[in-house]
Symmetry: C2
Subunit: 597 residues, 2 copies
């Protein structure tokens, strides 16, 4: 019956009226009405209403009586304009319908475990088990079209800039910092393992040493760690590396790329240059290294005002080197009961805060349990610092620096969301710069690379690496969007001596450094160019641009929080013969189970 | 010194004369001549000659005296036209040179273990160990530019056809046919394993069941098998799947894509439709399922002529169901001595042939050791069948069918190459169709899927699946270029019953089928559309279009034949603590070694 070429359902419109068409797709919905049958026929382009009328084809009508939701059918028919009364303004093709002359059932379908509709009303586990059904829902169809558009826009932009897309290995070397590496036993080299890459970091640096000056890759990365809602064992990053560019030039390139993507896929103009904020400023103002700048309610630092306060908590905190800061929750004094505030106190305790001090502003007065400890002078200064007015609620944390930042940063986000302070249609990009190069780990008594061990210090701090490593700034930058870290990058170390010094600061013996990174140290000796780059999380970009909140919705076949694929049931046990071939065996009772198979 | 923007060395020409330029790159070669220093400065775009002249800058000259090959430098200077006598016509920028006013050394370089020049004159192992140096050579730079162009052309073509690029998982489920799976132990689910995908086959089928009708991916695939020169443990394929298309439509799409790629990256017009040849014809005419059709010298079947021959080998072979076929090596009778022919005999023995019978044609006579067994009538018929003329050499194999094909097919290729019969600039594409669906394995006493268990039989053979599986043809097609299989595809099974029957023919119990492929069988029940696709090996396409013969030259960081990365030294031993976390341990002495670390 295919004398016509197939036409896509979603493309039909009034211009097709009177045309004979061939359609293929899924039965979205069937309605029997007054001797007629109406079916919403769905294909990858959209949906159209097809009508079975005994006057046109009794045979077709009889077949139509047998079809159910998700049957796959092929129909021939004629496009007609709908009566004014039956036009469906909520449907793109709602002005027309197709009167069917013939239908063939291409495949049947059992009743799906959940309806294929825009709004998911069933558990995520069930949807992941039947992912192929979940994917038929329009919001997911749209998300993966968007994902495609984003990656193609990225490629288009970078291709125009003469970047080469290149593929780095997935079977790579395990590194000592690789506690989170997925390992792959080798069959040929028994007892040895490959590791799946956490990022193509070293390979992209080697590409620069290979004389390619502009590399990119939409790269799959792997991390075997405890999963959170916004983490997946495998994820995708837009991975970029360049030679001879400065950090300013790389940031410029990156933001031009994001500007192009936003324009291409969202039709939104982003003005450049993007705002930049030093790490310390971001922490001080937002209590976060990835501040959501779509709304205010910044942290207000009042240690200077309350350092001699009769409220001893303030005083002692400041004396022991801590901070006192507050959020001014505008015009919410009456909205928050004591009980509400108790809940907020519980919330900040999760972040280590000992408590939450608070005042309600009434007129020019502070009310609340600790108001009595605040002097007139302090009150005036606090009101001014907080730009507080009648009806405002002031929430204080006095604690160690990082606890003040963590707790007030989180509280700010929570209140921003709950009070509707965030413009959900806005896209606020921000560069966070001037990162510390190293972090000291008290427990292990050594420094760790804040980013990775190949990040270069800023030139001005080069000499401090030996003497005061904690004060060395990295030549690094992170890109933040709406409070999410999209990714970041840095200028890399391109000189052997500096890389060796860095390894030393990180506690590597010379032997260890050579054993683990000998190939890098050697490569740096053969004319390595100055180089640097950036890596942005594609999944997260898709999530934010699609307006979604669950990272799993942006990944075609995602894994659960326990890293399982519910659809195919991976991971799974394997035959003992397979393990024998790899010269490995299972420890404990699991071994016997595998042996029994 | 960067008041100018950097300009790329390879882009300079006469149009830049008198311009001040800033260049950055590598010292390709330094020559000191009459008080001047000449350096070929190389960057990713090409090379330009820069000149240090004491009249311009004594300081720059002095620095230039210290630089060596592969130093990374930044120079400022003025473009000048060369004297007519010093113009270098072999250099793209040979009409001009840059008189340097200032130079900065950005990084030093030790003397490389091999020279960075077009022709590699050192062992491949050494070049792989210093892959970043090898990559600086122009032929490799060109190959990866070509690879980029090919992938972008593929994407452009498919995007225009409304395909969506989608990412399938790398951490997947191991399958029972998965003897070649790379396994990845799970940390969360101890005793269980993921497998790296040998192809995204099932996922792309599930994508079709997810209602996306046109999918593609430049997909990384993995196969843990004994490696040959043209195999790598990880490789990349252009992976395509569509719903509702026929095999003809998929072949048409694929060849249009290849036509577009050839035009875009090679400027070569390929005329469509591509030739098609049934599998059996390819075997009979070329002794190969991937014939190189750039030259003739086809197999000539002469069993009918020699079936009663006095040469008993011919007779008995035919009686026991074997074949007798010959190659006519035109005008090579005198060029091949007995010793030469003995060598060819040794060659075919590798393919299982018991021997190589031969005649030289002299006038209208056959000469050679077995000529006396050939009757006058047979001689005439042979000469006619072979279209033999004075001076031709006829080489016969009489043996089992597959041995005749394998040995003469290989001999044909060998002679075609050695005698220069192949037009190296030609690109001969060919579809091989009508493949058998199943292959019988004598040893294991069961059928195996010739392609994979999800390939559908042609409709006409559907009924034979139960009764005479060996005669069932697959709805499958392979694309061949110049004797290399680029890849292939098929229409997949989209109905549960047929898939179940297929598993049964392959010897799966119902339980096994459910356990291993339950999710597929179930997915087929929920409205799976008719679907099919194709997968082409990107590495091989790059190799052929780049005119290279080593697959490793097309992969950025390839592994050796024993699956090692000589640059980073992967695979390698890992800490016992890492294995403990995965609840696995090594078998045998290797365990102790790891424990000692």
């Amino acid at each position: 019956m295919s004398k016509h070429q197939r036409i896509m359902a979603g493309t039909l419109s009034e211009t097709n009226v009177n045309e004979s068409v061939l359609l293929k797709g899924w039965v979205q919905k069937r309605r029997d009405l007054g001797g007629l049958i109406f079916i919403d026929l769905r294909d990858a382009s959209g949906t159209v209403q097809i009508v079975f009328n005994p006057d046109h084809s009794q045979t077709a009508l009889e077949i139509a009586e047998t079809v159910r939701s998700e049957y796959v059918v092929e129909v021939e028919g004629t496009v007609v304009k709908r009566d004014a009364s039956t036009i469906n303004p909520n449907m793109k093709t709602g002005e027309i319908e197709v009167i069917v002359s013939a239908i063939t059932v291409l495949n049947k379908a059992k009743t799906p475990p959940f309806a294929i509709q825009d709004k998911a009303e069933t558990s995520e586990d069930l949807r992941l088990t039947y992912r192929y059904l979940d994917l038929r829902r329009q919001p997911l169809q749209d998300t993966f079209k968007l994902r495609h558009q984003i990656t193609q826009a990225v490629r288009h932009f970078l291709n125009e800039q003469h970047f080469l897309e290149m593929e780095t290995p997935i079977l790579t070397k395990s590194t000592p910092e690789g506690a989170r590496d997925y390992l792959v036993p080798s069959r040929v080299h028994k007892g040895e393992f490959y590791a799946l890459p956490q990022s193509p970091q070293l390979f992209k640096q080697l590409i620069m040493m290979g004389g390619f000056e502009k590399y990119y890759q939409i790269a799959r990365c792997f991390r075997d760690e405890d999963l959170r809602a916004d983490r997946q064992p495998e994820f995708t990053q837009i991975d970029i590396e360049t030679s001879f560019l400065t950090s300013d030039e790389i940031m410029q390139l990156t933001e031009q790329m994001m500007q192009y993507v936003m324009k291409e896929v969202k039709g939104i103009d982003i003005s450049l240059p993007l705002k930049r904020m030093p790490y310390e400023e971001a922490m001080a103002r937002y209590g976060s290294d990835k501040p959501d700048t779509r709304f205010g309610m910044e942290l207000i630092h009042v240690a200077d005002i309350v350092k001699n306060s009769n409220f001893k908590v303030f005083q002692s905190t400041i004396e022991s080197g801590g901070l006192v800061a507050l959020l001014n929750v505008k015009q919410q004094a009456t909205a928050f009961s004591r009980k509400d505030i108790d809940k907020l106190t519980e919330f900040v305790k999760v972040y280590g805060a000992k408590g939450l001090a608070w005042f309600k502003v009434e007129g020019a007065e502070l009310k609340g349990p600790i108001a009595k400890f605040i002097s007139e002078e302090e009150k005036t200064a606090l009101l001014e610092a907080a730009q507080a007015e009648d009806g405002d609620l002031l929430l204080f944390v006095a604690d160690k620096t990082n606890i003040v930042y963590d707790s007030l940063g989180a509280l700010r986000l929570k209140l921003g969301k709950e009070l509707g302070l965030i413009d959900q249609s806005a896209f606020h990009f921000l560069w966070v710069t001037d990162w510390p190069l190293l972090e000291y780990d008290e427990e292990q008594g050594r420094y760790f690379a804040a980013h990775h061990p190949f990040t270069s210090p800023v030139a001005a701090d080069r000499e401090k690496l030996d003497t005061e490593p904690e004060n060395v700034k990295a030549n690094a930058y992170d890109l933040v969007l709406n409070g999410y870290e999209l990714g970041g990058g840095s200028i890399r170390i391109h000189q052997t001596e500096l890389q060796q010094e860095m390894f030393k600061v990180l506690g590597f013996s010379e032997t260890d450094a050579r054993e683990q990174f000998g190939f890098l140290l050697e490569a740096l000796e053969y004319g390595a160019p100055p180089h640097g780059g950036v890596a942005l999380g594609l999944d997260r970009i898709v999530m934010l641009l699609a307006g979604r909140t669950n990272l799993r919705d942006t990944i075609l076949f995602p894994k659960t929080a326990s890293a399982s694929d519910l659809l195919t049931n991976a991971p799974s046990e394997v035959d003992k013969t397979q393990l024998d071939e790899l010269s490995i065996q299972l420890i404990s009772h699991k071994e016997d189970k595998a042996a029994d198979k």
